[in-house]
């Protein structure tokens, strides 16, 4: 009998071309996704070094980071982004790489659009120069972020040299109640085990809560794996996955789809497979979450109080809590509910999918954004935007006083100039509340789409459960 293996180990070993010295494996890369910050420089450097593109058909490109999201945007609406976009177009065209440009139905934030297009499939290795590439694990892909040099390595060789990480399983058990979202569950998980817990590990999420989740919710959970410190987070594919995939643009059709599903079914973690670490999280008692500090682990229940560093025994932790409260302009031990906000942002590769916009619109319908608050809804992809507009969701957002914008990373990362002003406070459906993440001096509170809507209509951090639908 063969040794029981995990989902991760099965996919990993299927992609090993050669074992190199020092425990490093040469891995085949099935899918390489490129965005506008790295594509032009990557193609350019590669050409300068005299290397060609090994398998242009396995690479796909779309701009998302530095493009403007203003309605009616053009190439140079954000001039710095325009330069990158031109370089991306030229590089992709010369290499024969398929690119989805602005205005194309396929364009969007890579981690939203690629699953939508069916470019992400279970059992594949997928890389992209962005740490939130772990998102694609929600479909059962072995996906992780890489750096610029690794981009060139993949372009030139269609492989990567990687050391095999350890394995971790996070069991999410139980059923959640009404207003709770996948975002709240994963934020609470990070709060519980910390942003360094997953470092050096490939995480598999399992348990009854995971099985009950939709694919879009699974993508949200896997998206935040890197905020656990894990560059890989994945969920075993199942019938929910196959139903989601069936018929999408790049998904194999007819008999080939059947063959692929049969292959994917062999990838599940064996019953007796061992993980290096296991965690168990009960989801029943999780309430809507909001961050208070400058790390995703600085998270509390939205009806809780800002923690008091003086009660923290660890000196380094105490120092970092003080620094975080100072940056965030918060006093210790006050209720987080009721703190005034200036900005609300709904979008990003965490919560920019159609289901997120639907959830937000449902809560927002008939309400108005509070005076003094600027609120943006930025669909995660052109396809999401068009689908939302077919359902009339854009009218719900604009009637309430939200700006309805073009798809891109936008204010999650501020690479295109969409930033929160210094000292201003935002409630954001994104994934990072780091110092300066939404712009220099910006104060970010992470939460779910429902929590963002509650903040928008209240003008303060608020509990979405009290709004009712």
């Amino acid at each position: 009998m063969t040794t029981p293996r995990t989902l991760f180990e099965k996919i990993w070993s299927q992609h090993v071309i050669a074992e190199l010295a020092g425990g490093v494996s040469l891995l085949h890369i099935d899918r390489h996704l490129l965005h506008d910050l790295e594509a032009g420089p990557g193609f350019g450097n590669l050409a300068k070094r005299g290397y060609g593109v090994h398998d242009p058909g396995l690479t796909f490109a779309m701009p998302d980071h530095a493009i403007a999201t203003a309605p009616g945007r053009q190439t140079d609406t954000n001039p710095a982004g325009g330069k990158l976009l031109r370089a991306m177009r030229r590089g992709a065209y010369a290499a024969g790489v398929r690119m989805f440009d602005i205005g194309d139905e396929g364009q969007g934030i890579l981690h939203v659009a690629a699953p939508d297009l069916g470019l992400t499939l279970p059992g594949m290795t997928l890389v992209c120069p962005d740490s939130h590439t772990c998102t694609h694990g929600g479909l059962g892909a072995l996906a992780f972020g890489i750096g610029a040099s690794e981009v060139e390595h993949v372009l030139a060789t269609q492989t990567l040299r990687q050391k095999k990480p350890k394995t971790m399983r996070i069991n999410l058990e139980g059923r959640c109640r009404g207003a709770l979202s996948a975002k709240d569950v994963i934020l609470a998980t990070i709060g519980k085990i910390g942003t360094a817990a997953g470092r050096g590990h490939a995480v598999e999420y399992a348990g009854s809560f995971v099985r009950a989740m939709t694919v879009e919710e699974r993508l949200t959970v896997c998206n935040l794996s890197i905020e656990l410190g894990a560059k890989i987070g994945m969920i075993a594919p199942d019938d929910t996955t196959y139903a989601y995939l069936s018929g999408r643009r790049y998904v194999p059709k007819a008999a080939l789809f059947g063959r692929a599903v049969a292959h994917w079914r062999t990838l599940l973690t064996d019953d007796d497979a061992a993980f290096d670490i296991e965690h168990m999280i009960r989801v029943d008692d999780i309430s809507p979450q909001i961050t208070w500090g400058t790390s995703p682990q600085d998270v509390i229940s939205v009806d809780g109080r800002v923690p008091d560093p003086s009660r923290e025994p660890d000196a380094e932790r105490r120092r970092s809590m003080h620094a975080a409260l100072d940056y965030m302009g918060l006093a210790p031990d006050v209720p987080i509910e009721g703190i005034p906000v200036d900005w609300v942002f709904i979008g990003s590769c965490t919560n920019g999918r159609l289901s997120d916009l639907r959830e937000a619109a449902k809560l927002l319908a008939g309400r108005k954004v509070a005076a003094g608050v600027r609120a943006w809804a930025v669909p995660g992809s052109e396809a999401v935007k068009r689908a939302a507009e077919r359902e009339g969701l854009h009218r719900v957002f604009t009637a309430a006083g939200f700006e309805w914008r073009e798809p891109g990373c936008s204010m999650c990362v501020g690479a295109n100039g969409d930033v929160v002003a210094p000292g201003q406070r935002s409630v954001s459906t994104t994934n990072r509340n780091f110092v300066g993440r939404q712009g220099p001096g910006a104060r970010t509170h992470l939460g779910s789409p429902a929590t963002a809507v509650a903040a928008a209509v209240s003008g303060t951090i608020a509990d979405s459960r009290k709004l009712g639908v």
């Binding site: 085949h28 053009q74 190439t75 398929r98 992780f144 750096g147 390595h153 470092r199």
Partner: protein
């Protein structure tokens, strides 16, 4: 990459946990900056106060740590974003080694790629090193990668572990891509086997629709060159899984000989149903012997008109190996790479009224009319602008607005207005056609996308063809409007014509026809990667010495039409 063997330098303590790469280098500093400009923004949120002045409390701002080469840091250093800029920013600051209990996984790999040594040590040892540095008069440390130990300022030494391969890579400053490509035969063997097991990874079909491709070889050397094209098409069907339903019909004199008509209804229906037509050539002295009634309709013009093939693309590129075959000097044509976008269904060739009148004095008066509408100009201009976006972003629009303020004036105004409204990112210039003809032979490399109307395009594209050396090398595409099913019907043909003088000898150059099929892969089949694959195979075959007579040059041996096909197929095989 700079080798790392031993480093002695100032070490600075930064004993904070979870230092993320957004703090190491903020996102807004990534845009528009070169790698070597990032150092001054490293740790910007901590290093500077909001007013831009230095924060004296930040360790790296203190005089004793200002020129640090080594950083001693807290747990999970470099977590968060994958940006390699974080490593470049540290390098810009002078840092070549970071010692910490642990690192963000992606940051750690990025260090390896850039010759930065990341050392993992247990927490107590990192804390001892930080204390040692803090208490030293001169906080200088030595990191010896060869011996795998650190000497603290006090003289205390700490050994560290490192994977042998990472150590070797750092010590030798190796190029990882070069090392990996030594294993390329293993990579290709893996892919070959995997393609059988998981074909869905390698063959991504956007639709299940099979494209109908029709070969019309036509007259003169058409059948010889299209025979080679057919082999290439069949290779893509068999080896790349390209979904093509390939058909062939007789056209021109061969149709006359077989069926007694130049265009059977069956053939015309095939033409109407085809997604793409691979056309050879039309023209033969034999037409003179046909009855006038049969000759009345030019079947190629009929296809252009009926299929509304308004968008004619003629790429012209210098191939360095063939520079000597051009009638222009090599330094004039060097680096030339342009596409002429010609309007093909309007202008004076189609305008009404036209005619010849008898005058009372027995002489004649004849006239043609040049007609263009805004819509006709807009649709061809859109094609040029879209093409410019994936090339250098420049369009030169050619007209004669100084003498023809009506048609050429409308042309110029319409092109400019469309650019301003929808393509502001594209650089547009205008040129008079007489000047353009001169510039094409004077300095052709200045052009990228040249947009022009039908008559001017006809003349200028022949003129530009000489830049490439031989007419036999040049492809063209003629595309119709976007249909409701998302496709554009198109005809692809080499520009060389039927060349009756060499027809039937097996020495014609098939490259123009083969590169026309590459255009077909790109524009009709939506397979840019396969188009590039074919174009690169042609270049490799020519670089390796494949020649037909027209491009052989004086005294150089030349091969047959079929030998050129063999060489390109061999290059495709090798690159697959």
């Amino acid at each position: 990459m700079e080798k790392f063997i031993r480093l002695t330098g100032v070490a600075a303590p930064l004993m904070r946990n979870n230092v993320d790469t957004d703090v190491v280098i903020p996102m807004h500093r990534l845009i528009g900056k070169q790698r070597d400009e990032l150092g001054r923004y490293c740790f910007e949120p901590w290093r500077y106060r909001p007013d831009g002045s230095e924060n004296p409390d930040f360790p790296l701002n203190q005089p004793r740590f200002r020129h640090a080469r080594i950083l001693v840091a807290g747990d999970n250093f470099g977590c968060g974003s994958s940006r390699e800029h974080a490593v470049w920013a540290l390098q810009g600051l002078g840092i070549r080694c970071v010692v910490a209990p642990s690192f963000g996984d992606i940051f750690f790999n990025n260090c390896v790629q850039n010759g930065v040594l990341a050392i993992r040590l247990p927490v107590p040892e990192v804390e001892r090193l930080a204390d040692d540095i803090g208490q030293a008069d001169t906080p200088e440390m030595t990191v010896d990668l060869e011996a795998q130990h650190i000497t603290a300022p006090s003289g205390a030494t700490v050994a560290f572990d490192i994977e042998p391969e990472r150590r070797q890579g750092l010590m030798e400053g190796l190029d990882q891509i070069g090392m990996t490509l030594k294993l390329d035969s293993d990579i290709r063997a893996f892919q070959q086997k995997d393609r059988g097991e998981r074909p869905w990874i390698y063959r991504q079909e956007e639709t299940e629709n099979v494209a109908r491709v029709l070969i019309l070889a036509g007259d003169g050397i058409g059948p010889e060159v299209l025979a080679q094209v057919r082999r290439i098409v069949e290779w893509f069907i068999a080896e790349r899984g390209v979904a093509i339903d390939l058909r062939e019909e007789l056209f021109g004199m061969s149709a006359w000989h077989a069926h007694g008509t130049l265009m059977r209804n069956e053939t015309w229906n095939e033409i109407l149903g085809a997604d793409a037509i691979l056309f050879g050539a039309i023209g033969s002295p034999e037409y003179e012997s046909l009855p006038a009634e049969a000759r009345k309709v030019d079947q190629l013009l009929r296809m252009r008109r009926e299929l509304d093939l308004f968008d004619n693309l003629r790429p012209v590129r210098t191939i360095e190996a063939l520079a000597a075959t051009s009638s222009l000097r090599p330094e004039v044509i060097k680096g030339c790479d342009m596409v002429i976008v010609r309007e093909l269904t309007g202008g004076i060739y189609f305008g009404e009224p036209r005619g010849v009148e008898q005058l009372t004095d027995g002489t004649e008066r004849s006239f043609n009319t040049c007609v263009y509408t805004t819509a006709q100009i807009e649709r061809i201009a859109r094609s040029a602008f879209a093409l410019a976006r994936v090339r250098s972003g420049r369009v030169c629009s050619v007209d004669k607005a100084n003498v023809l303020p009506e048609t050429s004036g409308l042309w110029r105004r319409t092109v400019q207005a469309l650019r301003d409204a929808e393509y502001p990112d594209v650089e547009l210039s205008h040129m008079y056609v007489d000047n353009c003809a001169m510039q094409l032979v004077r300095s052709p490399a200045q052009f990228d996308v040249v947009l022009t109307e039908n008559l001017f395009g006809d003349i200028l594209s022949d003129c530009a063809a000489m830049v490439a050396g031989s007419l036999g090398m040049l492809p063209s595409a003629s595309l119709g409007p976007l249909r409701a099913d998302g496709r554009r019907q198109a005809l692809y043909e080499p520009i060389h014509g039927s060349a009756p003088d060499i027809a039937g000898k097996g020495i014609a150059n098939p490259v123009g026809a083969i590169l026309s099929f590459a255009l077909c892969l790109r524009h009709s089949l939506g397979l840019p990667q396969d188009a590039a694959r074919l174009e690169q195979a042609v270049e490799r075959a020519i670089a390796a010495g494949a020649r037909t007579a027209d491009i052989a040059g004086a005294g150089t041996p030349s091969g047959t039409t079929a030998a050129m096909g063999d060489a390109i197929l061999a290059a495709l095989e090798k690159g697959n």
